[in-house]
Amino acid sequence: MVLALAEKPTAWRYGYQLCQQLGLKPGSLYPILVRLADRGLLETTWDTDVPAGRPPRHLYRLTGSGGALATELAAAPARRPHLKVRSQGA
């Protein structure tokens, strides 16, 4: 998840888009996003520029700390990351 978000660190992503990209079900994706946000690794915002009648969508991208973690993970892929994130589908 962190590495996927770090591919384009400045780009905002939608939850459904991440589900499709990573092959995760939302039941697995959202708890991970919640934990990342709780730890200050993920920033969120709302996309209010949506078609009429649609609700605003939540957007995600890594914070500076999240980017640093991604760099660390990319540099040492064999080592287990200290952040526990589950990636099995739900």
Partner: protein, 412 residues
């Protein structure tokens, strides 16, 4: 209309069952079976009609506030909306995020998959402090409940079932609060303190009553003990951690609690006056008339007046209902505690029950307090909280649309 029809049909069945299987007793010299049955039908019809009216008003309010929006959704949307509605305040944005993404998913099967999986996530977000804290809390609650029964029964015979029920319910609320990261909201500290004090007074008076008259334990069988525990724990829950759906207005709890205090003080004054030997017989008659009026119309007023005032001032049905509910949760435990206190005092003076009958065992006061304070008052009064709140529904402010709220909570 379906609800109303079902209630009327249930009422008719109940009426037929009662008059055929347990005919009402009457004096054939002065009454007839038809007359007694007619009066019974009327007695049964009035509260039924009130409850049906209140239920219809609630359904009407729910429909225009939530029902129309829910009706416009497909089943996966409704499922997810229901699941995310259980999220605590500080996780609500995640619920809105899931709902918003579901709007982008096309196709029946993918929508069901997305909604089911998201609902699972909404219901299983990490608890406060993590799973170990939740497991520890659950363990402590279970141990306390298991130990409470024998320990309390040994100290106060007959109170064990109540202790287990009350601790179990309060413990379940604590576990739920930890599991759902629900913070104690204390919407209004002073009213919360008063309700908590009322619950403590109700428990204290039950203990004192059973210690003074251990034979009274037969009026607190497990079913009654569970009922008492459920009412007191429910009052405590609303006062300490009321869900958002019960309203967030700060004036409403104060109005409700103020009405409850007036109601309970009025009872105290009338009880004391009715047993005051210094008051002349003519004055006693007046006091007893006032007491009867207070007894029958007090519960109506204590729910109706704060609901009406809060609903009008706050221009909101929900605020009015919130005030009525606060009046209920404050008046029920206080009335029960007062009943037991005054019953003990008066029984020591004249050997009679508080309101009804002389020569009965003192313990009957406990059964009477349970029935009249905790069953009769809400049964009669609660519909009036709804009616009072609904009197000016047309002036209610339109609810804030979720999209507006979402846009207002943008995070950097």
């Amino acid at each position: 209309m379906v609800t109303a029809g079902a209630v009327v049909a249930a009422w008719a069945v109940l009426y037929v069952v009662v008059v055929t299987t347990a005919p009402l007793s009457y004096d054939p010299a002065t009454e007839s079976a038809a007359k007694v049955n007619r009066e019974f039908a009327l007695l049964l019809a009035v509260p039924t009609a009130l409850w049906v009216a209140a239920a219809l008003m609630l359904v009407d309010h729910w429909w225009f506030r939530t029902g129309i929006r829910m009706f416009a959704m497909d089943p996966p949307g409704r499922l997810l909306a229901a699941a995310v509605a259980t999220l605590p305040d500080h996780r609500r944005e995640w619920g809105m995020a899931m709902n918003a993404e579901l709007a982008e998913v096309r196709g029946r099967s993918p929508r069901w998959q997305f909604a089911l999986s998201s609902a699972r996530a909404a219901l299983r977000l990490p608890p406060l402090g993590g799973w170990p804290v939740l497991a520890l809390t659950t363990g402590v609650v279970a141990a306390a409940v298991a130990a409470a029964g024998p320990a309390v029964d040994a100290a106060v015979p007959g109170l064990g079932a109540f202790a287990v029920s009350f601790l179990g319910l309060v413990g379940a609320m604590v576990v739920l609060a930890v599991a759902r990261l629900r913070r104690v909201r204390l919407p209004a500290p002073a009213p919360t303190l008063l309700v908590t004090g009322g619950v403590a007074a109700a428990i204290t008076m039950t203990v004192i009553f059973l210690l003074r008259d251990p034979a009274a334990a037969r009026y607190l069988p497990p079913a009654n003990a569970l009922f008492l525990a459920a009412v007191l724990a429910g009052c405590l829950w609303i006062a300490v951690a009321a869900p958002r759906s019960l309203g967030t207005n700060r004036l409403a709890p104060h109005l409700g609690v103020a009405a409850a205090v007036v109601f309970v003080v009025g009872q105290l004054v009338l009880i004391r006056a009715s047993s005051d030997p210094r008051i002349e017989p003519a004055g006693q008659q007046l006091v007893q008339g006032l007491a009867a009026l207070w007894f029958w119309f007090g519960p109506v007023a204590v729910f109706f007046v704060p609901a009406l005032v809060a609903g009008s001032v706050g221009r909101s049905f929900r605020t009015g209902l919130q005030a009525g509910i606060w009046a209920g949760i404050a008046s029920l435990p206080l009335t029960y505690a007062l009943w037991l206190h005054e019953a003990l005092r008066l029984y020591a003076i004249n050997g009679g029950l508080l309101w009804f009958g002389d020569g009965a065992p003192e313990g009957e006061n406990l059964g009477a307090a349970l029935f009249w304070s905790l069953r009769f008052i809400p049964l009669l009064g609660l519909p009036f909280a709804v009616i009072g709140a609904a009197i000016r529904p047309h002036t209610a402010r339109p609810p804030v649309a979720p999209t507006q709220h979402a846009a207002a909570t943008i995070k950097p």
